[in-house]
């Protein structure tokens, strides 16, 4: 059974169609990149899955349970967590507060302490700056904090919206290293929006190419780099 299933999903903002009858499934432990030009509907897709944007129609399932129609916080409680675009950390709270704030809903208090240790081990800088105000962190550190915060809610599926946005290439490398490491450690299912197909190819995984609110290609990220699919997706034609 698919871990995450999207069936005939449509998202509209007024008359504008951001996502048009889109379907795909993700298996457990898979790493899926979503790429495509600006306005392809990548962020709308993630927001709709996470419940931050209401879908016009369609069905979203995780482990066979229907998520569509639930509020964002209810979806997060069921184990689907989103790292929003632009990080959106709680700048006025400390790093530690950012990490613990989402754990209030968890009943496994002992596991929370273990998870905190896990993210501190993965991101030592967060341990170092635990008492600092989150707004004082650098962009890369904030991205790591946003990922760590999402992990603290103990998700089964994690959606990450453009983790490389506004970061230096070296920092992006580090963010992806840690993300993949944590995925292996926790058996996470990852869906990542990534503009750079070269980056996705280097990290490795499946890639969905979006254009005009639809998926125009679906395959291995490393193969994409070799073929002309990207050019087609950006400049017209169909895959």
């Amino acid at each position: 059974m698919a871990k995450l299933g999207i069936f005939d999903l449509a998202v509209r903002y007024g008359k504008l169609t951001a996502i048009a009858d889109l379907s795909f499934t993700v298996t457990e432990g898979e790493r899926v990149f979503i790429s495509g030009p600006n306005g392809a509907g990548k962020s709308s897709l993630l927001s709709a899955i996470a419940g931050a944007v209401r879908a016009a129609h369609g069905r979203i399932e995780m482990d066979g349970e229907i998520l569509s129609g639930l509020g964002a916080e209810a979806i997060a409680r069921r184990g689907l967590s989103m790292v929003p675009e632009g990080r959106r950390i709680f700048a006025g709270l400390t790093v530690l507060e950012n990490l613990t704030v989402g754990t209030g809903m968890r009943r496994d208090r002992g596991a929370v302490a273990d998870d905190l240790e896990t993210v501190f081990t993965a991101f030592p800088i967060l341990r170092e700056r635990a008492r600092a105000s989150a707004g004082a962190l650098s962009g890369g550190q904030q991205q790591m904090l946003a990922i760590a915060r999402a992990l603290m809610t103990n998700p089964k599926v994690m959606l990450v919206d453009e983790p490389s946005l506004g970061l230096a290439p070296k920092v992006v490398d580090e963010v992806y290293d840690r993300l993949c490491q944590l995925q292996g450690l926790r058996g996470l299912t990852l869906v990542i929006v990534e503009q750079s197909s070269a980056r996705a190819a280097r990290v490795g995984g499946r890639m969905l190419l979006m254009r005009g609110g639809r998926i125009v290609a679906d395959g291995d990220a490393t193969e994409f780099a070799a073929r002309d699919l990207l050019t087609e997706a950006y400049f017209g034609g169909a895959a």
Partner: protein
Amino acid sequence: MTSQHTIRRRMAATTPVLLALILLAFVLAALALGDRAIARMAAETLIRVTMVVGFWVFVGNSGVVSFGHAAFGCIGAYVSAWLTLRPEMKATLLPGLPELIAAADWHVLPAALAGGGVAALVALLTGAAILRLSGIAASIATFAFLAMVNTIWANWTPVTGGTSSVVGLDRYVTPWVALGWAVLAITIAAVHASSASGLALRATREDEVAAAASGIDRYRHRLLAFTLSAFFCGAGGALMGHFIGVINPDGFYLSLTFLMLAMLVIGGVGSLSGAVMGVLALSIAVEVLVRLEKGVRVGAATFALPPGSQEIILAVAMILILIFRPAGLMAGREVMLPARWVAGQTKPEN
């Protein structure tokens, strides 16, 4: 790491203690001056601390400005009056009261608790609707709530006495009684702020989308804070009634709303200490200016500010604070003991 966390928690716990000591010093200083007017000013200031700290529980943590909290003061004041006034007085002043309340002759303490309790209940019911709105829409709805309460109180004459004042309340509120309530409010506010719910609420203030993505139910945490907040505004209203001895719906309307907001803005909405310090600073400034308006004798000559200059000076001071210190006097910081005092050993800071 864990020990750092413990130290942080212990430091945070010193905040209500220090604030209580500051207020205690304030009361002692006021009483030491031996001036009855100053003692009264101290009591009134501490009642306002109770109300503004209550107000902060919601506004400070949620980031949603409320214009409706004066109404909770109104409810608390009248509930306490209904329960404590002598039955024969109520029969003439407020003939419309239901039998049970008309016959009530409660002690002042349970009556103050009931005042806060009824205000909290009203907050729970109205908040259930108001807090589903977000941002400015919620603020406007709280203003509508204030106007509704005022209109009902001004016109439901058989029960509230209408626009004419209800008189004869037992004036039991000394600076010490007011201090007790203020310290209670500060303690509960500090406990709430450091609780999981308080933290979750501050996260929604920082970023609603990210908070929802972290599984935080904004509505539930807001409603809890709103209810708790109303309790202390209601209790503060009851104290105010028993301090002045006379209550009137307009005493809990626009001027009180703006006074509470001004105190919170001047002290700084970002911290509990800001709420307390804002009340102290503004109350002391008003007292000084009122005295200067009356005139100060220096030798043979008397100097006096022209009447009305108190309002103008305060307004200018507020504008200056907003320009030069937009986060308020405390700028979001709390008064707390330094880490090394709490830890009992030298610890590197940050």
